[in-house]
Amino acid sequence: MHPSTAGGFAGRPQRAGDPHVARLLWGESGATRIETLENGLELCVLSDCRLPIVSTVLAYRVGARDETAAQAGAAHFLEHMMFKGSENFAAGEIDRVTESRGGSNNAFTSHDVTAYYFSFAQQHWATALEIERDRMGGLRLDPGEVDAERQVILEELAMYESDPWDVLHQEVSRLLYPGHPYGAPVLGTRESLRDLGSSELADFHRRHYLAENAVLVVAGDVTFEAVRAEALRLPSGAARRQRLPVADVEATSALQRYERAFGEVSRLLLSFPVAGATDVEAHATARLLAVCLAGGRSSRLNQRLVEEEKLALWVAADVAEMTGPASLSLALEVAPGVEEMRVEERLFEELDRLCAEGVSGEELQRAQQMSFADWTFSHERLQRRALTAALALALHDDRYPEASVRAALQTTPSEASSMARSLFDRDRCVVAWSTAESGT
């Protein structure tokens, strides 16, 4: 199967010489091949021999949202333990081997997915699969290593708790997704981590770390046949299990608040629920609204609240990439001497104004151009192409990246305006403040 390469971008400014999203991601026609192998693994190879390098991403369809309450933090804990010893790689050896062959590696855990990635010089790419095979089939989970790593995760937790923005984001998630897996921290809590030991992690690994539950993307100077031969050696154990769909979140009917006093500067995080990334059009429109509001210096909120009225030092907007219910968040730091409530009121006034006036064709087109350029800049790197492909295949399908960019480029001003009116509802948002301890 070759990903679709048809279509242009009717909604964006038509300008000669712009590369096509599909070509940027998947390469020239015939360069990408995607297959489900006999062991159940979904394999995608993006052949690109411009540089003698290879990037791999192995994404498991498991994340913090698949944990039970007693397992809180297990997905992330296990990600750490994947570097702490398997049949043929002792604790710490994965890093040593990677480095000694000129490579780099890392991993991350989100609510939806856990991904491991490597990049190597061309001649060493098979090392990545050798390591993945070993820790997929023979993870050790030595109790002493588990105890030592728990300490490291507690330090990681302490690091996030020291950051004012991380605290606000966690509190907003808790309020926005009450009783929902997205409301719980990916790292778990001090209490839940204490109760996670080797046997709990082994059970989690056994259930989720199988070829049938994974997507492997290998991008760079390789052939499909060579990768396929290696990938077939990844262990399989069961038929692919259907993952439970992400539950909906019950909509709240009143504005929710969180407030704490901390530090020298007042910080505001305002979040509204939006459709998840699975709803391609709605999510794309929300991303464009975020750019219109605070995506550049000419954006509405930056112009008014920062540059003209000088109420805020900076403002930013972001749309979460969750597959299930997501959120559009606006963040800002308050200028010295300015009342927090005045900033909050002005922020809501600007949102009201956007809803009343609608999004102009000019500002939408600018947001589309900026989004397209950002996408292009980031996907010039092989590792990023591999990651985008892996997340698409693990959580959506191979058409998703192109459909997502195209949806953004085809959004019309009336669609964006209509979404703004339904989205910016004060009774459905969370307002989180970290106010300066010295007061303003």
Partner: protein, 400 residues
């Protein structure tokens, strides 16, 4: 091609990356924060367009502008789609040669910078790092925040930015462009837009003397995490031991992952920290760089963490570097080279660095050779010459 100009075609790239650097920074300022303020003010409007028009015009094309002021340089980076490269050069030239530096915009930038310092003061690792730099570079611009401080910023005006910029313009700025473009065409366009009649840029070196070791505790806003910095001055980037120290850095923990000696001992063996970073060449440029070992750990672990770091450094000096470590470090740095040359943005930075340091950092073969030629003995000698566990400055950021 002239020595101030570097252009490189990146086949297949759909973007371009432009860098314009004035070799003039905090080393040259009379009040802390002036270089930072002047660099950032380049985006605040020109004689022809105000800040908003600049932003609208750039963002309409999806261009990304970043202006900066650092210890040794100020200038801008402009990235865009390759079809817009000529427009990008025109606009960058306007921003560089015709900035308006209006009172109103510089004043707001000044206020934002003061508040930025306050905001950074809420980050315990940053506050601890500031104190550490002050201990290492007492009285030197490298020892203070690049933003300056409240007092110095309040004393700065638009006139100061204008004269700092005017002085910088007396010499040729460095210009680099990379992307999917034609080299000869871009070179001609750059020469016509960016050549100035002044002398070439000057190579200013700053090699402050190492100061006697100090220890300091800083109270931070952290709830329960402590931050530990250890280190001392090392060498500037033109030092003959640079490549050996890069390899030594990987052995110590500056590579990818957690395989170096410091993260192995502190995080993997003793579980004392989530973050354990090491770099013997931090900040090394024309200014003398520094060894930095940074750990984020619990307050009760500080003493053990510091002792373990000292012990690891002593062990390194006593036992040397193993053949496996040496070969691994070399393979790592050589293997990473192609990943530093993937995009127009990366090439833009490499080209500008090559012009600034007057060294072929943009020549992949030269880069490979300089690493390839280093021997294990040279790495061990560099360790003995440049690592001094008995002279470590120590800064401890303590939770409140």
């Amino acid at each position: 091609m002239t020595d101030w100009l570097r252009v490189r075609r990146i086949p297949g790239s759909g973007t371009f990356a432009l860098r314009v650097w004035f070799p003039c920074g905090a080393l040259d300022e009379h009040l802390p924060g002036l270089a930072y303020l002047t660099g950032h003010a380049l985006a605040e409007g020109t004689q022809r367009r105000d800040w908003l028009q600049v932003a609208v015009d750039l963002e309409d094309q999806g261009m990304s502008l970043s202006t900066f002021g650092s210890l040794e340089l100020f200038g801008l980076s402009l990235d865009g789609m390759v079809s817009d490269w000529q427009r990008g050069l025109d606009w960058a030239s306007e921003l560089i040669f015709e900035p308006s530096f209006t009172e109103e915009r510089v004043d707001w930038l000044r206020q934002q910078t003061v508040a930025e310092i306050d905001s950074l003061s809420d980050q315990p690792d940053v506050v601890t790092g500031w104190r550490f730099l002050r201990q290492l570079y007492p009285g030197h611009p490298a020892g203070r925040p690049i933003q300056g401080d409240r007092e110095s910023l309040n004393a700065l005006s638009a006139d100061d930015c204008r004269s700092f910029h005017r002085r910088a313009l007396e010499r040729q700025p460095l210009v680099a462009v990379a992307g999917g473009l034609t080299e000869s065409e871009v070179t001609a366009a750059l020469e016509s837009r960016f050549a100035v009649p002044g002398p070439p840029h000057r190579a200013v070196r700053s090699l402050p003397e190492a100061s006697p070791r100090t220890t300091a505790d800083v109270k931070t806003s952290a709830r329960d995490q402590a931050h530990l910095f250890l280190g001392h001055l090392t060498v500037a980037r033109d030092h003959e031991d640079l490549a050996a120290l890069e390899l030594l850095g990987v052995v110590m923990g500056a590579g990818s992952g957690l395989s170096g000696r410091i993260p192995q001992r502190i995080r993997e063996e003793e579980g004392l920290a989530y973050t354990a970073q090491t770099n013997p060449l931090s900040g090394a440029s024309k200014v003398r760089g520094r060894l930095v070992i940074y750990l984020g750990t619990a307050e009760e672990n500080l003493t053990q963490a510091e002792a373990s770091v000292r012990d690891e450094l002593q062990r390194l000096l006593r036992d040397g570097v193993s053949a496996d470590e040496f070969e691994g470090a070399k393979a790592y740095l050589l293997g990473r080279e192609p990943f530093r040359q993937e995009t127009a943005r990366q090439w833009g930075d490499l080209l500008a660095q090559a012009a600034y340091f007057e060294t072929p950092w943009d020549d992949p073969e030269w880069r490979r050779r300089r690493l390839q030629e280093v021997t294990r003995e040279e790495v061990e000698r560099a360790a003995r010459t440049h690592l001094h566990p008995d002279q470590l400055h120590v800064t401890r950021g303590l939770p409140r």
